[in-house]
């Protein structure tokens, strides 16, 4: 095992997959030698693989994804970077109407082995156009897979699976996770989609948390332990497909559920998971489900305002105590 930062784990996956398969190439704004990615994920890659396979693009999100789709259906495996998750909205037609639907609409003739890497999340005071968590939008476009890693280990393993797979993947990265360190094996490994990870076992309350919120949930768990509430923390790791069984099994055990995710509450990630439990495990619930998410507002700039809308440890502790 070795210790590695989240951003470096992603870079390792890119490097290894580019070495393994000639058809893998990268494209995106400022990912090449002059900037090496807004979050430095592609550092050194243009030098290692050349400008042909690490392609800087103009500021043209729609063309980045469109070109990636075109390349994907004709034998290449593009990994596109959209500099901020908020800006996937500029490429929404290519993602939702084209990439997601091509395999189905054309009767299975074409595959779209495309990965779109993009950072989501708030917490760095860069306001409404650079802080959103739009993961749920992509859950609403059948044909897309959605990965939401919270550790370096998962980031690397899931990205490899994404690149080797034959479906379009929205690979969600959290800005605040990039410098976070964790252990990964030296040797090649992949992580299947649709397999949740239990981050902490407990009997009293199940917390399902995503991305940066997994860490917050674990902090909350420590605080709650001192108050003799023992929570189980489940990290779904992919939203599409979702490991429903892991969530339901945990709720069967604890009888209580808190769902924590950045992104707006209404029709969001937490709503989907709560609905799942309401459908499949309501008889096991001993208390109402609690959801900890952003209120339905844009992300404000000022630190005092942003802090108010982004879920934190305190909000999680309170939600758990309401039902424990």
């Amino acid at each position: 095992m070795k210790e590695i930062a989240f951003r470096d784990a992603i870079r390792e996956a890119l490097v290894e997959e580019m070495k393994r398969d000639e058809t893998v190439f990268l494209l995106g704004e400022d990912i090449g030698r002059y900037w090496e990615g807004a979050f430095k994920v592609t550092k050194g890659l243009a030098d290692e693989f050349g400008d042909k396979r690490v392609r800087d693009t103009p500021i043209s999100e729609s063309a980045i994804i469109g070109a990636a789709v075109g390349a994907a259906i004709t034998g290449m495996r593009p990994v596109a970077e959209i500099m901020f998750g908020d800006l996937t909205t500029l490429a929404m037609d290519q993602i939702v109407n084209q990439a997601a639907k091509i395999h189905y609409m054309f009767g299975g003739q074409a595959k779209v082995p495309l990965v779109i890497r993009t950072p989501f999340g708030g917490g760095v005071n860069i306001a409404a156009h650079h802080s959103q968590s739009l993961q749920a939008w992509f859950m609403h476009a059948p044909g897309l897979l959605v990965a939401i890693p919270s550790t370096p280990y998962d980031a690397k393993g899931l990205l490899k699976t994404a690149i080797r797979g034959d479906n379009p993947v929205i690979f969600c990265e959290h800005k605040l996770l990039y410098p976070e360190k964790g252990l990964i094996p030296e040797e090649d490994y992949t992580i299947p989609f649709g397999l949740a990870q239990t981050r902490r076992e407990g009997e009293d309350v199940t917390i399902v948390a995503t991305m940066f919120m997994v860490g917050k949930a674990l902090e909350a768990a420590k605080t709650l332990e001192k108050q003799t509430i023992n929570v189980e923390v489940i990290d779904p790791r992919t939203l599409i497909p979702l490991d429903k069984e892991a969530i339901i099994n945990s709720v069967r055990k604890t009888g209580r559920l808190v769902v924590v995710s950045e992104g707006c509450k209404t029709a969001g990630v937490t709503a989907e998971i709560a609905a799942l439990v309401a459908e499949k495990a309501i008889d096991y619930l001993d208390a109402p489900v609690r959801r900890v998410a952003e209120p339905d507002t844009p992300i404000p700039f000022s630190p005092s305002l942003e802090k108010h809308v982004i879920p934190d440890e305190k909000a999680i502790v309170e939600a758990v105590k309401e039902i424990a």
Binding site: E29, Y34, P58, I59, L87, A128, P295
Partner: protein, 317 residues
């Protein structure tokens, strides 16, 4: 050009420069949350254009927008307060550096989504036309933004409807680390105007008088119902893209070359040599601006942050 106008151009450019230097300083003191994109070096563009506008005219701005605001007549104190995330800022702390707006002076806001302002400016122009008003709209955007689909769609629409809009491209040679010529084949972005059947000019964006003249002509056309103009201003950002960009992608000597073409020093030299300005007067102007900026800082620093639950306000009208 009238002496008063020349002094006005000088004063406004200097106001932006001194303001931006102060923002840079405050950022170093951890008083500015998030990030900043300074306008230093590009002042002639906003000032040359906005000095041709009336208060009732509109502008649409970008992530590099402090200079646009000040040129259009925004107050320094409320601008600074917004940049610091204070309740007394133009947007109550909700917007920040990349999203300042002052609708009372026709400043329709800064978008941080590169290129998003272009069709919005087209829409403001459409609105003036539908309301039978003679307001014009000036839309600022970068060389990088001109590669967005919104550039094509927004300008084409303004062209066919002959809308009163100035599309002002601030070509500062870079979009983050990407050189203009790496992202498009033509040297002159104004060439693209041909595709829309509208006039396009490329001018020295570090010469405020050239910008002033080009904007004057474009405003005349716009108010006269003749439609939009694309004005490409060749300029340079003297600092990195954002606060932490060391800008090592610039070739050696490039910054120095452009510092020699500093728009403020150029005008100052010109005015001093032809006697429109004296050393004593420049010193006085500088001091007045420094004091005004200092007052703005005091106002901003002493203002409160918004209360957390104010985040929930303003979602709907």
């Amino acid at each position: 050009m009238k002496k008063e106008t020349l002094i006005r151009l000088y004063r406004k450019m200097l106001e932006i420069r001194i303001f931006e230097e102060k923002v840079f300083e405050l950022y170093g003191q951890n008083l500015v949350p998030g990030t900043i994109h300074l306008y230093s070096g590009e002042e002639a563009v906003a000032v040359g254009v906005c000095t041709n506008l009336r208060q009732s005219d509109y502008i649409v701005s970008t992530h590099r927008g402090h200079g646009h605001c000040i040129a259009k007549g925004a107050k320094l104190d409320k601008t600074m307060a917004e940049i610091l995330g204070k309740k007394t800022g133009y947007c109550k702390g909700k917007g920040g550096s990349m999203h300042i707006a002052d609708f009372s002076i026709g400043m329709l806001g800064a978008t941080a989504v590169v290129g998003a302002g272009i069709p919005i400016a087209t829409g403001a122009g459409l609105s003036s036309k539908l309301r039978g008003s003679d307001q014009v709209t000036a839309c600022f955007f970068g060389d990088g933004a001109s590669n967005q689909g919104t550039f094509h769609e927004g300008i084409n629409l303004a062209a066919i409807w002959r809308l009163p809009v100035l599309f002002v491209c601030e070509n500062n040679l870079y979009a983050m680390g990407t050189r203009q010529t790496q992202a498009m084949l033509p040297q002159d972005i104004s060439e693209r105007s041909v595709a829309y059947g509208i006039p396009g000019v490329s001018i020295d964006g570090n010469d405020v008088l050239s910008v002033y003249d080009a904007a004057e002509e474009a405003v005349k056309r716009a108010r006269g119902g003749l439609g939009p103009t694309l004005i490409e201003c060749k300029t340079y950002r003297q600092k990195g893209h954002s606060r932490w960009d060391p800008a090592t992608y610039r070739p050696k000597g490039e910054v120095e070359k452009w510092l020699e073409k500093d728009p403020i020093i150029r005008l100052e030299k010109q005015l001093l040599s032809n006697g429109e300005l004296s050393e004593a007067k420049t010193t006085r102007i500088k001091r007045e601006i420094e004091n005004a900026v200092e007052d703005a800082v005091k106002f901003a620093v002493s203002s409160p942050y918004p209360a957390g639950d104010e985040a929930l306000e303003d979602v709907f009208a």
